[in-house]
Symmetry: C2
Amino acid sequence: MTSDNLFAEEFFSFLTGKASTAMSRRLQRNLKESCVTITSEQWSLLYYLWNEEGLTQQELANLTFRDKPSISRLINNLEKLKLVIRVNDKGDRRTNLIYLTKEGRKIKTDCMAQASRTITEALDNVDRDKLKDAQHILETVYQNLR
Amino acid sequence: MTSDNLFAEEFFSFLTGKASTAMSRRLQRNLKESCVTITSEQWSLLYYLWNEEGLTQQELANLTFRDKPSISRLINNLEKLKLVIRVNDKGDRRTNLIYLTKEGRKIKTDCMAQASRTITEALDNVDRDKLKDAQHILETVYQNLR
DNA sequence: AGTTTTAGGTTGCTTATGCAATTAAACTAA
DNA sequence: TTAGTTTAATTGCATAAGCAACCTAAAACT
């Protein structure tokens, strides 16, 4: 019984990640509505690049908790969309430094606005103090498992 | 400033779902270690079927917050693995009722043990009362957006 | 009954994921 | 300097996801 409750109530909601799936989908929908045709996964890379350009693919992998092949292919698609470019590092020719294009920088404002809207929609009726605790727990779980 | 902190601290950890990604990966790793070769997504369908057989694909879609095509293909793969079977409903020939095979029922014990282990690993150092609040928040976010 | 609408599933297309194996550059050590 | 190891990135393979379009069976309307 305890075991079953444990699954049903404590584990399953986390495992399935329904909340974060719902957030991703809503973000993507909001972006589309504002005519920015990127996926939420692409958004998550751009998010870090808007903060700091010239990151390596390995750094992006660590930041977003994806493996290197995933980043490699995400960058491929972002390059196709002309939003970023790979610049081979002169100092260490194994690494690519990822920079935003003019277009990549330009869409930041729109994207952040839609992200902000998504937050507002998501956090309706959510207690802000408890939210902090929740984030802390998610961070602990992540640290426990990564 | 408030806006940026909002992203960095409140939103981003939710959006990326790093905790749930980490849990899924660990579950899959644990399952593999116990020689059960299913994915965490397949696990999430089986989880409901272990509780109640004869669900329709639409019901599974609602329960797991996936769309119909996703369920259709997950069932395809579970059928290939001989873990479930589709049974066309005599009463309503549009619907398939999904049942476990003997093998599908057999692996329940192992799978639940590995899920239990994954929980234990995930929730190390997590305050149980705050965990309840966190789940409640995730549920609210989900309800806000679905 | 006959037509329209709704509901359950499947297929096509594109994107994203993880793991394993590979290439090529850089570092370490003999 | 060369042999062996580590590191960054890519490629191959299989699974999974969402959206849109489709098909067929059931239900609802007239």
